[in-house]
């Protein structure tokens, strides 16, 4: 049962990564349909997720440094989602087990919270200094 789960996740994740790559040329058109950030509109400060779309668009245009500058955590997340998906698909097609997925190590809890906080502080500082 657990093996079936991991196999299916490999296919699903890989399929989603391929779809993301296929949709990359349509990124600007798809992004135009998204509403503006209400947090930014009301407070004048970026929310913790501000720049996620722009980071994705920069990555789609092959500008990873620009993506990292816009929102480092989002850029890393997008990169990990696509690269991880492709790796998972290749491993699945090769009949090899996924080397990860041991469950979320709970010791990552606080580093993850710190990373989210630090990323948000970076976004706010970047926004304020850009004024």
């Amino acid at each position: 049962m657990a093996d079936a789960s991991v196999r299916q996740l490999g296919l699903l994740w890989g399929g989603a990564a391929l779809l993301l790559l296929a949709l990359a040329p349509f990124g600007p058109w798809l992004a135009a349909a998204l509403p503006p950030c209400p947090f930014l509109a009301l407070t004048g400060l970026p929310c913790a997720a501000c720049g996620t779309t722009r980071a994705a668009l920069s990555l789609a245009e092959g500008r990873p440094l620009a993506a990292l500058a816009v929102n480092p955590l989002a850029a890393l997340g997008w990169g990990a989602a696509v690269a991880g998906g492709l790796a998972a698909l290749l491993l699945r097609l090769a009949g090899r087990p996924l080397p990860l997925l041991p469950g979320w190590p709970h010791r990552w809890r606080w580093p993850l919270a710190a990373a989210l906080g630090a990323n948000w502080l970076y976004l706010v500082a970047r926004h304020l200094t850009a004024r």
Partner: protein, 244 residues
Amino acid sequence: MTTDLNPLAPPPPPPPPFPPSGPAGNPFPWEDRARLGFVNAYLGGVRELLTAPAAAFARMRERGDYASPLLFAIVSAILGALFSGLWSFAFKPTNWLAMLPGDLGEQAGAAAAIAAGGFFFQLILVPIMTMIGLLIGAGITHLFLLLFGGLQQSPSGFEGTFRVVGYSSVTQLANLVPIVGPLAGTIWAIVLLVLGLARLHRTTQGRALAAVFAPLVLCCVCALFAAILAGGLIAGAIKGAGGF
């Protein structure tokens, strides 16, 4: 009965903290679609998630089947998009102008045809966006569950979150009701997510609620305050104008 009174019989096992999940005997209708048929299984799943969501999450499988929640979410998203498109078409005045004779009718008709074409293109994109959105949404929710300590006793891991987020897409059917439908659907989705995450991850509803709300609060808390403020101002204005 005699066995129960036998002092040499081994003690009965302690009751589990939660009733066992899974398809044993009485599976969740959508996961029994081979027997029930596609339409009946879907309608049964919708009915159960609407009327008895806690029981629905208790009856569904916890692992080994990513396809069922994904397919359920895609069907719900397509139906939701159809309802939504229907209402936006019905409420768009230019679409009614297309029925007028003459140039105005022709121009409005052309605009309506372009809008209809765009809508059908969107329908093609719905399954793709649902698949990607489901993975990303489940990933974010799973991340916040980890942050709030909601995964410590989870037997289902990421698949549990994926299943709950996928089946909670049933709330897209609320688009059947115009205007208030999406709002009711949002509230219903939060209820389903909290019940489902608490059940499948063996965590408290408080942690599940925190994991569901945290991303919303991080991005939308000010919008919520603004909406409440605007609502208050509008209510005050109506009252001042002699309403109520």
